[in-house]
């Protein structure tokens, strides 16, 4: 039971990370490697402001991650828009490394740590089962956020514009969709999502260092590829699958845990051989690329 909850909660966390990446990719066709640093900054802020009430601490963290996301768009990506995908990708790499170095300068190379939300590390008895509060909170929180994101994307004007722009930005603009505003909004939302991820991860692993968000971001990217990068639903599902599989492997491999990544990537290759465009892709995406 605990293993299942752990798998769902890790899956949910990766789904949130993948969703943040997918949002930005949708409108900009850019894999934003610096998404990792949005997660990292949120985690740093949670640790540093740990003395404040949790909600306040999280709000500051979310604001910081959102501000950083918007700042990278305004100062770097907007200027490079139209230069071509390769340059944008390299810029996002550079930005990611640059931010890591900045974190090192500001917060030090050694991990900063604090017990964020210590009550969450306890466990409760449910139907004769011992379950950690953290996993319950994480599952509840991710379900809530995924539903909220689903509502935003499916039922609001912003969501409709996001879907349209992801499919065909040129035509969306012809119809009046304001490109700058929409892109900035997706960066802002990706910042908020990154903050939730940072919070969830820092509760379990309170050692925050400059590369804190890197691992989860890379695995979320794998998830996006599996799920199908062209739809947000696919991104979230792919992220979930990666987190879920990884958690299950970690539980059942025991001492062979070091092979978890090998098995994971084997699963990825198999999925991609069967469905090259991702699980939720519609038909022949191969021909379009």
């Amino acid at each position: 039971m605990q293993a299942v909850l752990d798998a769902i909660s890790l899956g949910g966390t990766y789904a949130l990370a993948a969703l943040g990446l997918g949002l930005v990719f949708g409108v900009l066709k850019l894999v934003n490697f610096a998404h990792a640093e949005l997660i990292t900054i949120a985690a740093y802020i949670m640790v540093i402001t740990n003395d404040l009430p949790l909600v306040v601490s999280f709000l500051i963290a979310a604001l910081s991650a959102t501000a950083l996301a918007v700042l990278t768009e305004l100062t770097v990506y907007r200027r490079l828009r139209g230069t071509g995908p390769a340059i944008m990708l390299i810029a996002s790499f550079g930005l990611s490394v640059g931010l890591q170095k900045s974190f090192e300068l500001i917060f030090g190379a050694l991990p900063r740590s604090a017990a964020v939300a210590p009550w969450m590390t306890g466990s409760i008895e449910m139907a004769n089962l011992n379950i950690t509060i953290a996993s319950l909170v994480t599952v509840g929180l991710t379900i809530f956020i995924l539903l909220a994101m689903g509502y935003l994307v499916d039922y609001t004007t912003l969501g409709l514009q996001l879907r349209a722009a992801s499919a065909d930005f040129k035509t969306a603009r012809l119809l009046g969709v304001r490109s700058n505003r929409l892109i900035t909004s997706s960066f802002a939302i990706s910042g908020v999502l990154a903050a939730f991820v940072g919070f969830i991860v820092v509760v379990e692993n309170p050692q925050v260092e400059p590369m804190f968000g890197l691992n989860i971001t890379i695995l979320a990217l794998v998830g996006i590829v599996i799920g199908g990068i062209s739809s947000l639903r696919g991104c979230a599902l792919g992220g979930f699958i990666v987190g879920f599989i990884l958690s299950v492997l970690n539980t059942y491999l025991g001492n062979a845990r070091v092979y978890a990544y090998s098995y994971l990537f084997m699963a990825v290759v198999i999925i991609l051989l069967v469905r090259p465009g991702g699980i939720l892709s519609k038909g022949n995406e191969m021909e379009r690329v």
Partner: protein, 238 residues
């Protein structure tokens, strides 16, 4: 007053020049046809007017206001809407969602509901398929959707890039009938077509583009003169 005025427009892609000094003007309730062989720059002209391409030189004015170099999302708000080549409907979205997106560029949101009713009255098929994925519609229905979507921004000038492309002859006639209604409704329309005779007999005036310039201007009466039309289209001696 002319709704749309294009003066000495030069445009292209990067170092490639496509159009060299195009000028025309269009007033309320009028229609202009643009014809010319494949690849002469008809789409480039419409994209430049709609703001998708920034011209190298020249001026585009809409209702007397200079809109040269403005962004497409701003130009549509000023009253000019383009139905792009190949329709470009959002095939993964529903018909209704496509229409709602058309309202994005509409300034007067208070009349949005009425406008939606109006386009559905003009193209009843959109009502029948409201909840369906737009990609499931037939070519003719997709063209109707693309035109409706563009109309929802309440344009004074409507640009259409090859609306007849891929449509059956009777469907084309249908679409052109609807365009007449739209023009009667205080809108000016620019239609790009490869089928010269079709648009030349329909539009008040038709310009023929070749070598990046206007080679001839034809009235709808000229369209009946096959000789004249062919000469203008393919150049002298054809």
């Amino acid at each position: 007053m002319s709704l749309l005025k294009v003066e000495n427009l030069c445009s292209g892609y990067g170092k490639v020049d496509v159009l060299f000094g195009i000028s025309f003007s269009l007033s309320e309730g009028k229609s202009l046809g643009i014809v010319g062989p494949n690849g002469v720059g008809k789409s480039t002209l419409l994209k430049t007017i709609a703001g998708e391409i920034v011209p190298k030189s020249g001026v585009v004015s809409l209702l007397g206001e200079d809109i040269t170099g403005k962004k497409p999302e701003d130009i549509v708000r000023l009253g000019l809407s383009l139905v792009p080549e190949g329709r470009q409907i959002f095939s993964g979205l529903s018909v209704t969602e496509n229409l709602l997106l058309g309202l994005t560029g509409r300034k007067d949101k208070s009349s949005s509901k009425i406008a939606l009713e109006q386009v559905k009255a003009l193209f009843p098929v959109l009502n029948t398929h409201a909840k369906h994925q737009a990609g499931m519609l037939s070519g003719g229905q997709q063209q109707q959707l693309a035109i409706s979507r563009a109309l929802l921004s309440a344009p004074r000038v409507l640009l259409l890039d090859e609306p007849s492309l891929g449509l059956a002859p009777n469907v084309i006639l249908d679409v052109f009938e609807k365009l007449k209604e739209i023009i009667a409704n205080k809108t000016a329309v620019v239609i790009v077509e490869q089928r010269a005779h079709l648009v030349a007999s329909f539009a008040d005036q038709t310009i023929v583009i070749r070598d990046g310039q206007i080679q001839a201007t034809l009235s709808s009466a000229d369209a009946k003169n096959q000789e004249l039309l062919r000469g203008a289209y393919f150049g002298p001696g054809s």
